[in-house]
């Protein structure tokens, strides 16, 4: 019953360092360089781009109402920070709420569709139609029928964001290992047990993939909704500030607000990637570092 020969397959963290040959040393060096370059290279590109931008503006003496230099944009970020932060907070709230609704709606629909084939056949085509119709085209209609600006914006953002969650979760729920499905059947598992203990965990990696896409899309949905909804009662989000600054030829503020939108998108993606990593790191191949 000994498992001595099997045990050697278990990764052993404190193995003695073996003799390193030339190729291994070269590989280790490449890895080290790549690790540093992964952060420094994009940073360097950014610094160069900003410097180039600055040079183009000063050398050609471009007026600030056409293209402001990076200094002016920074100034606008600092001087208008109160207004921009308010706007960013509103956009973020809409985006975040839309994402929550997209997750509940997308995953909920996926589970419903998975439980009832008839329901899926009835409604899946309409989910696709909703997805492929550009939200910019639907948004004006929504704001005609929906009184509340907030509700209208949420609906717009939800329409764009729920589909990736729905389709990837559906795929995940259907990707259960056939033998495991048989095993559950042999053990007389109920439909509920099968869903909770087998299908949902199997679908998790797929769901998280859809979630990352939905995060970016709900920001796009929120921005589009703001542009269509205009101002009114609820304060103004970043997209509205961009539009407004454009009308006033305050190009620096446009860039400042735009940079905040971009930063928010990056933040959402990074946060969702982190969530995904934390949930999967123990067991899923995508999150597991290779030992060899």
């Amino acid at each position: 019953m000994s498992i001595a020969e099997d045990a050697r397959h278990v990764p052993d963290g404190n193995a003695p360092p073996a003799q390193i040959d030339a190729e291994e040393a070269r590989r280790a060096r490449t890895r080290r360089i790549e690790r540093i370059a992964r952060w420094t290279l994009p940073a360097l590109v950014m610094v160069l781009a900003i410097w180039g931008w600055h040079r183009v503006v000063t050398v050609n003496e471009i007026p600030h109402y056409i293209l402001p230099g990076p200094g002016l944009v920074w100034e606008s970020l600092v001087n208008d920070r109160a207004m921009l932060m308010d706007a960013a907070w509103l956009t973020f709230r809409i985006t975040f709420m839309a994402l929550i609704l997209a997750v509940l709606g997308g995953a909920g629909l996926a589970i419903l569709f998975n439980q009832s084939r008839m329901l899926e056949m009835s409604f899946y085509p309409y989910a696709v139609i909703l997805q492929v119709t550009p939200v910019v085209a639907i948004a004006p209609l929504i704001f005609i029928y929906v009184e509340s600006k907030i509700a209208g914006m949420l609906i717009c953002a939800w329409i764009v964001a729920f589909f990736p969650v729905l389709s990837s979760t559906t795929l995940g729920l259907n990707s259960v290992d056939h033998n495991l499905r048989d095993l559950f059947k042999i053990y007389r598992a109920s439909r509920w047990q099968r869903l909770v203990h087998l299908q949902l965990p199997s679908a998790l990696p797929y769901f998280l993939g859809g979630l990352r896409i939905a995060g970016g899309l709900s920001l796009i949905g929120a921005v589009v909704a703001e542009l269509v909804a205009g101002t009114g009662g609820i304060g103004s989000g970043l997209a509205f500030r961009i539009q407004e600054a454009g009308y006033r030829l305050n190009i620096a503020r446009m860039f400042a607000a735009l940079s905040l939108v971009a930063a928010m998108g990056v933040f959402i993606f990074a946060a969702l990637s982190l969530v995904s990593h934390l949930l999967l790191r123990k067991w899923h191949e995508s999150a597991v570092k290779r030992e060899t």
């Binding site: 019953m1 000994s2 498992i3 020969e5 099997d6 397959h9 278990v10 990764p11 290992d177 033998n179 495991l180 048989d182 095993l183 559950f184 059947k185 042999i186 053990y187 007389r188 598992a189 047990q193 203990h197 087998l198 965990p201 998790l204 123990k282 067991w283 899923h284 191949e285 597991v288």
Partner: protein
């Protein structure tokens, strides 16, 4: 209930019918047809007695896995009957598939807990049994490991522990060691016999390896393909426990020759 003779004559193995062990499962005239005309199994007769180690041996497509799935009640037979006797029932089964079939998101202990969990038994209540089953397959130290951290052979041991943890009286195994290397396979063959002796269960084992079937079983049911059917039943009347000495004995070689000949006959029919 063993008094009446088997409904169909099985000349190769008349001796078994008079043994005192009670019958647990009888398949009579079982057909399985997929779609309109794919005959996976035709007229299958099988009698399983308590404590048997039966191998279903045959080329691919001979319906041996189909037979197992029918016994596991994963699908109904097209014709014929599968009768459970002596208090045995399809709800009291252990199953091992060709792949380890572990849930990658759960630890080894949680995987072995699964049969209990689905019957509503908490982990705390099942912990001792889970530990015992893992100790039996030599993996007691790996309760909290995740399947991806284990080798192929270890995963298969976890799968076996899961099949045995509820002490089912019948265990079905569908080519469980086919994907493993030979050294690991031999070792798991030895261990499986020890485990069976320890737990005292009945085993139906699907394989396409002559050597494996001879080493493990006391009865070999040889099957042929197109249509899938039983063509011969061979007895391996060698005492247990069997160990490495048996693997090199002349008796073992003779049984292997007989099984090989039957398998060739099965393949010839199929060609």
């Amino acid at each position: 209930m063993t008094a009446q003779p088997a409904p169909h004559s099985r000349p190769q193995h008349a001796a078994r019918a008079v043994s005192g062990r009670s019958r647990v499962l009888t398949m009579s005239g079982v057909d399985k047809v997929f779609g309109a005309d794919v005959v996976a199994l035709e007229g299958m007769e099988l009698e399983v007695r308590e404590g048997d180690f039966i191998s279903l041996l045959g080329p691919s497509g001979c319906g041996k896995s189909t037979a197992l799935r029918l016994i596991a009640d994963l699908m109904p037979p097209t014709a014929g009957r599968i009768e459970w006797q002596g208090g045995f029932h399809p709800g009291d089964l252990g199953v091992v598939f060709q792949e380890p079939t572990l849930m990658p998101w759960a630890t080894v202990a949680q995987n072995v807990w699964l049969p209990f969990r689905l019957r509503g038994k908490s982990f705390a209540a099942a912990r001792d049994e889970v530990k015992e089953a893992l100790d039996l397959v030599g993996l007691g130290r790996f309760m909290n490991a995740y399947p991806r951290e284990l080798s192929g052979g270890m995963k298969m041991r976890v799968s076996i522990a899961r099949a045995m943890v509820t002490h089912p009286r019948l265990i079905l195994m569908d080519e469980p060691f086919a994907a493993l290397d030979e050294i690991t396979r031999f070792k798991l063959n030895n261990d499986l016999l020890q485990l069976k002796a320890r737990i005292g269960c009945t085993v139906i084992f699907v394989t396409h390896s002559v050597f494996e079937s001879v080493f493990l079983s006391d009865r070999i049911v040889v099957m042929a393909a197109r249509p899938g059917r039983v063509i011969r039943e061979l007895g391996v009347d060698e005492p247990y426990p069997r160990d490495e000495d048996f693997r090199t004995s002349a008796d073992y070689a003779a049984h292997c020759r007989a099984a090989s000949a039957a398998l060739h006959e099965a393949m010839g029919d199929a060609a």
